[in-house]
């Protein structure tokens, strides 16, 4: 039995949480925030979605299994380290792009690493919580 109040509020809160998580990710380079906390927020948003609409519809909305999300996150973080290995400066050497976009943070391999952490943590939160959601009969 799904709660009507939860569904209505989830419709509003889930998008806000997702946008806020991206905001946390962007501001994380110089200020409190970052990939880990942003990923937690995003994961919490999907968990709330699953509470409100049921896990089936969350999976349908995601179109991808949480384990794959973890794998993609790991891959992104790893790629940010490989750049340094390819240029010969050492694993995880930081590289920055020159151009600035006003609403984006400074782009570069450390930011790519942070994005990877964001995706990874988002997946991990879902993997931890989804198998333990039990619906009342």
């Amino acid at each position: 039995m799904k709660s009507f109040i939860l569904i209505i509020s989830a419709r509003v809160i889930v998008p806000v949480m997702l946008i806020f998580s991206v905001f946390l990710l962007f501001r994380g380079h110089n200020l409190p925030g970052g990939g880990f906390i942003g990923g937690l927020t995003a994961g919490a948003a999907f968990v709330l979605h699953a509470f409100a609409f049921g896990m089936e519809s969350t999976f349908k909305a995601l179109r991808i299994r949480p384990v794959k999300i973890i794998a993609i996150g790991l891959l992104l973080s790893f790629l940010s380290g490989v750049i340094g290995l390819v240029t010969g400066e050492g694993l995880f050497k930081g590289y920055w792009l020159d151009w600035d976009v006003s609403f984006l943070p400074k782009l570069g391999s450390p930011f790519l690493f942070d994005v990877g952490v964001y995706v990874l943590v988002m997946g991990i939160v879902m993997v931890i919580i989804f198998p333990n959601i039990q619906e009342d009969s």
């Binding site: 790991l74 790893f78 340094g84 010969g88 400066e89 050492g90 995880f92 050497k93 930081g94």
Partner: protein, 504 residues
Amino acid sequence: MEYSESMILFPLVLPFLTALLCLFLVRRIFAQHFISILGSLALMVCAIFLLIEVEEQGMLVTQVAGWEAPFGITMVIDMFSAIMIAISAFVGFVVNIYSLQDIRNKRKYFGYFTYFHFLIMGVNGAFIAGDIFNLYVWFEVMLIASFVLLAIGNGKEQLIGTVKYTLLSFIASAFLLIGVGMIYGISGSLNMADIALYFQQNCNDPLITVAAMLFLLPFAIKSALFPVYFWLPASYPAPPIAVTALFSGLLTKVGVYALLRCFTLLFIHDVEYTHTILLVAAGLTMLSGVLGAASKKGMRTILSFHIISQIGYMVLGLGLFTPLAIAGAVFYIIHNILAKTNLFLITGVVEKIKGSSRLEEIGGLYKNFPLLSLLFLIAALSLAGIPPLSGFWAKFILIKAGFEVESYFVIVIAIITGLLTLFSMTKIWIYAFWGESKSVNKHDLISNESSLFRQQWRLVLPVLLMATATLFIGLYPTHLMKYASLAAEQLMDPSIYIQKVLGK
């Protein structure tokens, strides 16, 4: 940055890539098999290259992301690390072949191979790490992977074993972290070479001994040393045999590695005190482990207790603290990894044949499986230290080192432990291989040797490889001894390490 310097990171990058690919292909078992074998083969080749490189250059150092030591993360491979990486890559490869058959598909769907390679990455990371906090982080990587490998499959025994293991490991990690914080508070650095330099200059600070004890406890828990070994027989016999074999080969040895590293590089200002504690702990570990094994009746439990008593020998080498003793400890680690892993793998084959490995339920294996019995005999006698197998040389070096510093008490304990090990192995031999078949299901699940080799070749091949390696070390001990004494030379002289890392 030279070619060989970036090679240092390959023991981390290769298992990571393999694990990642296995995670992407978690639903396709055949692809996982292929990638997993390929990955561990590549790691083995890389480890051999590193060993050759280290032999030529003495020590390899790299700074991650180009931050200079002591501020950045330093990765160091000396002879000891290179030997350990090579041997763990070999064990990983062999157990990987074994897992193809031994691990059920349900566990593979759950990502068995992913965690397998993350475990190897954590182990390699601990071998390479050049600063204490990094050591802690790699320990955690290894531990979390091992928690999942222990629990994977959700058997009742497995879950109960995992609870004990998780709690003890958590407490060990907390202590290790406190030790790291303490050393940072004392010396203001995390880089091992930098800390060693600081400790040399300020060796009268009593806090250093406190920090040494805070490092001793977690590593003792992880390597199952005397007062804190009880978690090991409680958790190791439960999971599938491939997991137990991998753990017995790698996990406790990482603890011993960390002890050897820290107590030859960092905490050498008060050898009288710290290394005497290690010596006493080593003696009690040998005795209590082997006595525990004498009272048990299952092959898995007996072998688990023997892990503990063997750890005692390695720490004995560290406690004696002479170049010969350290070389003996390194030799012993390698011999023990091969022999012990092989014994567990054979236990798995016995379980496949008889459906059980409890001694009162099996028997008469020798009649139908003479070759398997021979393989068991090689590993078992090597563990007990019968010449000309590898265990004899390992024990011989340690006891010789003990005579040199005249600590006869531990020599007596070491010899008694060797005899009692022989007793346990004979017990397994008499109950399992001689006598009448008293199986619960009277008929064996596999009728004779040729069908065993045909159906289960992926289980027998690893056993053969391991036994060959044991025989090789036993017949040509000088090859390995050359590497071991080189490693001991570097370990006993911290100034080489400091000079290589800091350049002063």
